[in-house]
């Protein structure tokens, strides 16, 4: 396997971006899934459409919107610039791009997990003296763990592969914002770098397989813990 120093930085950056995007999205994904599954409110359909929108939009479009929002003249970018925070063309922008693109996958999985919870378990919890937030933490959260796990794995994998939105909003700066897909894109542009591109492809496959294995392992552990 042929890996340059920059490739290793790209691998590290990809892992960092995917992990951060997944970890940051988890509480929001859980809250949104809970709202959609358990709450009745006006505008629920709009929320569902908005959450799922990144699934149907081309990632480049998402990247462009993020660029408009976070750029120097953007509404949020302007405010952040005044506070001395630079997002665009940093690894943080890659995190935002990955989080936006992967968020619907995370919500969908957690939602599926929550929908499988029998409503009477929640009613039992409330009638036994638990406040809604107590029920959320002691019943809904643990019973959604499988969904959370599946969603996190999906989102992590999606973040690893994120290309379109990332290249728009974070650029393709080797050693700074160049993730594995961007590095492969660079190698693919040059016919002499096939071996390098293939090496990074192999790394991607290894990471993805590891994530899937971990997911299966943790799922089984959860099932075993429940069966005891």
């Amino acid at each position: 396997m042929l890996l340059t120093h920059e490739d290793i930085v790209s691998i590290g950056l990809s892992m960092k971006v995917a992990l951060t995007a997944t970890a940051l999205s988890l509480p929001f994904g859980f809250a949104v899934a809970w709202l959609i599954v358990f709450k009745q409110f006006r505008g629920k359909v709009l929320l569902e459409v908005f959450v799922n929108l990144p699934l149907t939009l081309p990632p480049v479009v998402i990247g462009y919107f993020l660029l408009l929002l976070l750029g120097k003249n953007g509404w949020l970018g302007h405010l952040l610039a005044e506070s001395g925070i630079q997002i665009i063309f940093t690894w943080k922008a890659a995190v935002l791009a990955s989080a936006t693109v992967g968020f619907p996958l995370l919500v969908r999985s957690i939602r599926l997990g929550m929908e499988s919870i029998d409503r009477q378990l929640i009613e039992a919890s409330r009638s036994l003296g638990a406040h809604w937030y107590d029920t959320l933490l002691t019943i809904i959260l643990p019973l959604s763990l499988r969904g959370i796990l599946a969603g996190s794995s999906l989102m992590f994998a999606r973040s690893l592969g994120e290309f379109g939105a990332t290249i728009i909003v974070a650029g393709n700066i080797p050693g700074v914002t160049q993730t594995i897909p961007l590095a492969i894109y660079d190698y693919a542009s040059s016919p002499s770098s096939t071996a390098m591109a293939l090496s990074l492809c192999l790394v991607s496959v290894i990471i993805s397989v590891t994530v899937l294995f971990l997911h299966e392992l943790l799922s089984r552990k959860l099932d075993q813990a429940r069966a005891l």
Binding site: D118, Q120, L121, E123, A124, S125, R126, S127, L128, G129, A130, H131, D134, T138, I139, P142, L143, A225, R226, A227, L228
Partner: protein, 355 residues
Amino acid sequence: MKLHIDIKKKLGDFSLQVKSDIAGERTGIFGESGSGKSTLVHLISGLTEPDKGEIMLDGEYLFSSRKKINLAPERRRIAIVFQQAMLFPHLNVKANLLYGYKRCRAENRHIKPEMLVNQLQLQPLLERGVENLSGGEKQRVALGRAVLANPRLLLMDEPLSALDDTLRFQIIPYLRSVSEKFGIPYLFISHSLTEMQLITDHILEIKNGLSLDETTPEQLARNRMAQSPNGYLNLLRLSSPRREHGLFAYQWGKNSLLVSAGEQAAESLFELSSREIILFKKHPEAISARNLLECTVTEMFESDGRIGIVLSVNGEKLVAEIVRSAAEELNIKPLSTLFAAIKASSFRRLASSQD
């Protein structure tokens, strides 16, 4: 316990209107499937909000549309035992039992876990996962969990209907112990008259979403005798069985009864339909039925054209059912002496003490 209910709730095409003052410690809510019993459970416990009206428990408003009061479920201290046990699958038996107890204020913790575990015989189950329990064990844990929350009122929403007959009658003494041993009043919801007779003292009947007058299990059984497929179901506690000519000879008070579906247990509960009893004005000369009992008519009642004859057999009560013409022909009146013939195979065993 005093529960005042005067509420209206519309759910799609279905409308529930209940007005009642419940004062008993062991009250049944009786009604056919779809009559609105479970909706009432949701409304009393605060899981669903009524459209209009008020609910008061021991003088405290739980809900009042006029006063704009709607206490959250966790503040009502009304626990529920569901049809399916609804144990938390990620917690073991012990953690399930303590779920409500931990959330109960210290000053309200009158029932301690040790007392309950002994009473419901849960000790061997404590460390087990709930997925591995039998249906009866699950329901006992669910009952224990609800009792340990030290509620002011316990709502039992058809807790026996998911169990087979054997398990059902094993659980009944535990259900009764909620009020007898722990002093917690309950509302027992069911569509089974037999369960009502064994578990409750008063009944509020709900029909098509409307509450009817309060009655007793006995009165309800009499009212429904004609329309019920098995007539009036006599519940007999028979004891000390011994084998006799391939049958079981049981003691029933001062009487002896021959039963084919018996079991060697100190005491068994049997069901006998009022339609399985044949009445004779005089002692018949020869008869194939293995039980012939001399009895006195204590009371007569009518149910949709059928006549219920309440008999005293050496102090034990039995209800037989005949048509009006038979009652007239035999000239049956209170204090008449009759002979009741019952086949040994007419008794249906519900439970035995060793089960």
